[in-house]
């Protein structure tokens, strides 16, 4: 009773802490945003303007906050810019005219010697702009998604990818357990009895995937009718390869599941196949979750990822080999014809005797004893 109460208290404290942290962060961010001074905002806008490929570089003295007008009698020798307001030009600007968060309006008689640029607005030109008139709806200066992920993003991506693959494999496992149980059992049994041969066949199969594909495409390409079949053949080939890999990997997962759930898989046909499959797949999932969650660990994370990859690759290779050996689980090792032994002649073990006979060896004569002399 006392223990239950303390667990409840700990849970409440934890929840309070989590919400408190989130709230504090939110409040902090809000305060930060509110307290941002216009000068800082202008500096940030100038920095973005400089970094944007479609922006340009301006000095701090050229920009001011709010709407701005260059009168007909005015002549600005450098650049001019407004922040959060339109920039109207009736006179002459030798340099660039920029509005961040407003329009650049060049009225009749107005002249801009450089570029006219509006960020979050438009350039409306009824005067003269010698350079380029350019409008962008917003800056493009942030990181491009995915070019360099933060550790948090990388972790999130890796975890969701691992889970997505797991869910897909589980769906396939259920389908295979319902529709091709005997095939799966045959492949698993082959892996159990012929492990190294399965690995060898799997390796050869993986090496042969691309050459076989090219060969079949070229063979089809020889005839006009064959050319038409190329897309279908390519699709069928990809499907067959993926199917073989999947079936083999599921068979390996089944064996792993058997090992975990203490099922030997032999003589126990009615064992809960799906549970064993899921248990096996979960082992691989855990490996990948560990690898995915290790983005912060540097070298150790890389080692974990390598381990996850190697274990998955070995499992897939062995499974593929067993699938090839059993022709997709249609031929059990028992049903395969035994390897024919070389023919043995009945008397082959005897020493052949030449027709001309064998000369008898002379029996060695013992040396005469000294007493006989």
């Amino acid at each position: 009773m006392r223990a239950a109460v303390s667990v409840r208290v700990v849970r409440r404290v934890a929840i309070a802490l989590v919400f408190g942290t989130i709230a504090a962060q939110g409040a902090g961010a809000q305060t930060k945003a509110d307290s941002a001074r216009p000068a800082d905002a202008i500096a940030a806008a100038l920095d973005s303007l400089h970094r944007d490929a479609n922006g340009l570089s301006l000095s701090r003295t050229a920009i001011s906050s709010g709407p701005r007008t260059v009168d007909a009698s005015e002549h600005i020798t450098g650049d001019i810019a407004s922040y959060r307001g339109p920039l109207e030009i009736r006179g002459t600007v030798d340099g660039n005219a920029v509005a961040v968060g407003g329009d650049v309006v060049v009225l009749p008689g107005g002249h801009v010697g450089g570029d006219a640029l509006a960020v979050g607005g438009l350039v409306r030109n009824s005067g003269t702009v010698d350079g380029e008139s350019r409008s962008i709806n917003a800056f493009s200066v942030g990181p491009i998604a995915g070019t360099r992920l933060t550790p948090a993003e990388a972790t999130k991506r890796a975890l969701s990818l691992a889970v997505a693959c797991f869910l897909i494999l589980v769906a396939m496992a259920i389908a295979v357990a319902m529709g091709a149980r005997s095939h799966l059992e045959t492949i698993a049994s082959t892996i159990r009895t012929d492990f190294s041969r399965s690995f060898l066949f799997g390796l050869l199969g993986e090496i042969a995937i691309a050459p076989l594909f090219l060969l079949s495409m070229v063979a089809l390409g020889i005839t006009i009718v064959g050319i038409l079949l190329i897309p279908f053949a390519a699709f069928a080939y990809a499907l067959a390869v993926l199917g073989a890999l999947d079936l083999g990997f599921l068979a390996m997962s089944l064996l792993v599941g058997d090992a975990i759930l203490r099922g030997d898989g032999q003589g126990n046909e009615r064992r809960p196949l799906v549970s064993h499959l899921i248990a096996g797949l979960t082992v691989f999932l855990v490996l990948w979750l560990l690898a995915g969650g290790a983005a912060y660990l540097g070298l150790a994370g890389s080692v974990l990822r390598l381990l996850a990859f190697l274990s998955t690759w070995i499992a897939a290779t062995i499974g593929l080999g067993a699938t090839i050996i059993t022709r997709g689980g249609t031929r059990s090792p028992a049903s395969m014809p035994p390897i024919a032994a070389p023919p043995v002649e009945e008397y082959a073990w005897q020493t052949p005797t030449p027709v001309s006979g064998v000369a008898a060896a002379r029996r060695p004569t013992p040396a005469p004893r000294s007493s006989e002399r």
Binding site: A53, N54, D130, G131, A138, I144, A145, S160
Partner: protein, 284 residues
């Protein structure tokens, strides 16, 4: 088990960060023609829709673009000394953009480029996975090179080129290319190459004399649309290919259309066809 699955699905629902974040940007840029007497355009575009046509009269170029800033960047740069406009995807984002090309972005992202008429243009277009509509009507194209990956390219020479084009080179890669009224290009040398896909060449237009074309096609269905008053000479080396030469006569390894000598305009096609079909369609 149920809890485990719910947890898994929740984790999966976290999704790919940024996978579905669209960050659309629009860009418009135009420059007055001023004293420019020629323009070299280098356009690189990997994913989306691209179009080229004539710009309104006082402008040297007029570009409008929409792009997803979460995945790509479009920029333009004009070098007044070299009279060169470089426009399109930043090279740092090009490959990435093609890799992460999505149907939605491809449909919505675009680059429309208008170019000045009345001055010679050198066009260098590198198109990736795009749908390109290039209408060169009323433009003066001096040279043109189009290199594309997986592209649907539609190229129109709607009016006669004021001066003969020195070189027209189109490498369609994997995809389809349709050229309308190729005769209006007045190209001194034309090379059309395609690796896989469809090539549709319309030899119509306002032209005289001979039109030499080098055709290199493989795994491609090629259709040559030829006006009836034009004679064709085909010298195509075939490798497991079908070239439609019904009514043609052979002399010295060259196939000539019926009445070739009597026609005033000739299309002279040289090249190779590997695992391809070449059909000639006569048009009135």
């Amino acid at each position: 088990m149920k809890t485990l699955f719910l947890a898994m699905v929740s984790l999966f629902a976290l999704g790919d960060p940024g996978a579905d974040m669209r960050n659309w940007r629009s860009l418009t840029a135009s420059r007055p023609r001023s004293t420019a007497d020629s323009l070299h355009v280098v356009l690189r575009y990997d994913a989306g829709n691209v179009s080229i046509s004539a710009a309104p009269a006082p402008l040297l170029y007029d570009a409008k673009a929409r792009f997803d800033a979460a995945q790509q960047r479009i920029s333009r740069n004009y070098d007044a000394t070299a009279r060169t406009l470089r426009i399109g995807l930043d090279s740092s984002t090009m490959q990435r953009s093609a890799r992460h090309s999505s149907r939605a972005r491809d449909r919505e992202g675009f680059l429309d480029l208008g170019l000045a008429s009345g001055i010679p243009l050198d066009l260098d277009l590198d198109l990736g996975t795009t749908r390109a509509k290039i209408d060169l009507s009323s433009l003066w194209v001096s040279t043109m090179r189009v290199s594309s990956g997986t592209t649907e390219t539609d190229l129109t020479f709607g009016s006669a080129n004021p001066q003969p084009m020195r070189d027209l080179f189109v490498d369609a890669g994997v995809g389809s290319i349709t050229i309308h009224q190729l005769g209006n290009a007045h190209a001194q040398r034309t090379t059309i190459a395609s690796t896989v896909g469809d090539v549709d060449l319309d030899m119509g237009g306002d032209w005289t004399g001979d039109m030499p074309i080098t055709l290199r096609v493989a795994l491609t269905s090629t259709t040559l649309r030829v006006p009836r008053d034009v004679g064709i000479a085909l010298h195509v080396s075939k490798r497991i290919s079908t070239v439609d030469t019904d009514g043609f006569t052979e002399r010295d390894g060259v196939m000539y259309s019926a009445g070739y000598e009597q026609t005033k305009r000739h299309v002279v096609i040289d090249g190779s066809a590997t695992l391809a079909t070449v059909d000639v369609v006569w048009k009135d």
